[in-house]
């Protein structure tokens, strides 16, 4: 009798661990995607001090272009999936970057130098416009994509019936994200473009007086943010298999929350924030209620804004004298 109950509680403990491990895996893959989108928010904020509220829509457009590219390349299981996915990724990065570039050119650059609020309102307007543009051209129906990348690893701890799954796609998401992060860190720290971006962040007119083309540097910042968002778009399309014209809104606000949580303006912060938001969402869905996962995320936004307005890795803004 005693022996029997001991084994039971052991089994439950293993099950608790299993469940946690599964939610952790899910949370990390989701967090990687949020992190990629969050970088776009944080970079634009860093360089021109503006929240680009249309960035979620850029991500949504990235997802649509990725879906179309995947269909156009006729990717199905087997064959040269990797090569075809890579081409789809490049096409979607290129076209989405173009959207990011045009967005900055049309909606923000003419307002630069006026009040900050003007660009913010323009961003909200562009967000609505882009949503409707996709709804009109692509239809309001949910688009689906059958799973392309299958397979993965299964772990079973002890003799429980609960199996922890780590899919190939989840590994791919994390690996691609880490690789992009590394490239990004290198770009910001070591290349002339990254140095110019940091210079513009500190003093735009001085950078111009040293021969830096500030307008172009800002354009390229938008292009880079859009390229990363399109990668996130492709991965979400592959991961969930469904997208519609409205996915950009929720994902955008969550990525924005991630950027604020990590410290807006800080690129490692955006990644960290994304990870934390992804984990929160997965854990909340796993242990509390899946219906309220968005509420949990946005509560974090509120709490961070009240108690830690500079975020985890952000530096407090010192008023220039």
């Amino acid at each position: 009798m005693n022996d029997e109950s001991g084994r039971d509680s052991g089994r439950i403990r293993i099950r608790v661990m299993d469940y946690f491990a599964q939610q952790f895996i899910n949370g990390v893959s989701l967090g990687a995607i949020y992190g990629l989108i969050a970088i776009g928010y944080t970079m634009v904020y860093g360089i021109i001090g503006m929240i680009n509220f249309a960035h979620g829509e850029i991500y949504m457009i990235g997802a649509f272009i990725a879906l179309m590219a995947v269909v156009a390349f006729g990717i199905s299981e087997g064959g040269l999936v990797v090569l075809a996915l890579l081409s789809a990724l490049l096409v979607s990065m290129a076209l989405t970057s173009l959207y990011g570039w045009v967005l900055e050119r049309v909606a923000y650059r003419p307002l630069r130098g006026t009040q900050r609020l003007a660009a913010l309102i323009s961003a909200i307007g562009m967000s609505i416009a882009l949503q409707n543009y996709v709804q009109l051209t692509q239809g309001a129906r949910v688009k689906t994509l059958p799973p392309i990348i299958r397979g993965g690893f299964e772990f079973q701890f002890g003799n429980t019936e609960f199996i922890v799954r780590l899919s190939t796609l989840q590994i791919l998401i994390v690996v691609v994200t880490l690789a992009l992060m590394a490239i990004f860190a290198l770009l910001i720290a070591k290349t002339a473009l990254g140095r110019a971006q940091r210079a513009c962040q500190q003093d735009q007119s001085m950078a111009a007086l040293l021969g830096v083309n500030v307008d172009r540097t800002i354009s390229l910042t938008f292009v880079m943010g859009a390229a990363l968002a399109s990668v996130a778009g492709l991965m979400v399309t592959l991961y969930y298999g469904v997208i519609d014209f409205f996915v950009g809104f929720i994902a955008g606000v969550k990525a924005f929350t991630a950027a604020v949580l990590g410290g807006i303006g800080s690129i490692p912060g955006a990644m960290l924030g994304g990870l934390l938001i992804g984990l929160t969402e997965a854990m909340w869905s796993g242990y509390f209620s899946i219906e309220y996962k968005d509420v949990a995320t946005f509560s974090i936004l509120v709490i961070v804004l009240i108690f830690l307005p500079t975020g985890i890795l952000g530096t407090p803004e010192v008023e220039k004298v």
Binding site: T191, A192, Q202, D203, A207, G211
Partner: protein, 279 residues
């Protein structure tokens, strides 16, 4: 025989609404010479600088740069600020220091070589994969930066954040950074402001060195008269936006109009239109 003219400013006028900050000023700068622009506060010196470097578009006037590196002259008043640096190679410093405070001294100097590095990095892609051509260009830039770090006596601060530097060192960093832009004309806005006499002495030597060893023309705004008289080859005096005198230091020093502008005459107080836009 006179050395060739590098910069000619003709009939430069800058109006802000009803206020005329610079009124029909003409002067020229010779190649390989140090010219100073002096005058009481609010005379319009910094406004002239702002017109030269594209920060303001002049209301009237023409600013021509006959660069030794280009066959056709540059019309500076028609160029964007970053192109004035990149193509015409006119570079300025500020009277209130403007470094990039969160970057190291070395990186500040690397920003000044942005265009060279950007080209070498092939739109960043070559830079990311560490292509030999980019690494070569970067090594060159670091070398140039280190040369100027040494010249301006900042060697021990090379990896320090610019914002943490002492005041005098920040001033010298601005000059080093301007020199990394490879200028043909260096415009210094009150470089000696806030420096003690020995630092000012070093600064004069540095400016002389830049002219003598790099054959770069310098246009200088400065209030420290002993420094201006000591270092300049030619002086232009402004007062209330107008040129009241110009010539060699000796000539200018004894010019009655200059003496009057600096020391004031009895009826000066009643003039009542001396609002400053520039200081």
């Amino acid at each position: 025989m006179n050395p060739p003219t590098l910069l000619s400013v003709e009939h430069l006028t800058m109006r802000f609404g009803g206020l005329i900050a610079v009124d029909d000023v003409s002067f020229s700068v010779e190649q390989g010479a140090i010219h100073a622009l002096i005058g009481p506060n609010g005379a319009g010196k910094t406004t002239v600088f702002n017109c030269l470097t594209g920060f303001y578009k002049p209301t009237v006037g023409r600013i021509t740069l006959h660069s030794p590196e280009s066959r056709t002259p540059f019309l500076l008043e028609q160029m964007d600020d970053y192109r004035i640096v990149r193509e015409a190679k006119v570079v300025r410093t500020f009277q209130n220091i403007r470094t990039f405070p969160k970057m190291s001294v070395l990186e500040n100097l690397m920003v000044a070589q942005h265009n060279h590095l950007m080209r070498a990095s092939g739109w960043t892609f070559l830079g990311l994969i560490g292509a030999p051509s980019f690494r070569h260009a970067e090594a060159e830039s670091v070398e140039r930066a280190e040369y100027w770090i040494g010249r301006t006596g900042l060697a021990e601060y090379a990896d320090t954040e610019a914002g943490a530097l002492p005041y005098g060192e920040q001033r010298r960093l601005e000059i080093a950074r301007a020199m990394c832009c490879d200028p043909v004309l260096l415009c210094l806005d009150e470089p000696a402001a806030g420096l003690n006499p020995s630092e000012t002495e070093e600064l004069s030597e540095l400016i002389g060195y830049i002219r003598d060893h790099h054959h770069i023309s310098v246009l200088l705004i400065e209030h420290d008269m002993s420094m201006v008289m000591g270092v300049s080859d030619h002086i232009v005096v402004l007062d209330y936006g107008q040129k009241i005198a110009e010539g060699a230091p000796e000539t200018v020093r004894n010019d009655p109009a200059v003496v009057q502008a600096y020391l004031g005459s009895d009826d000066e107080d009643e003039a009542g239109e001396s609002e400053d836009t520039t200081s």
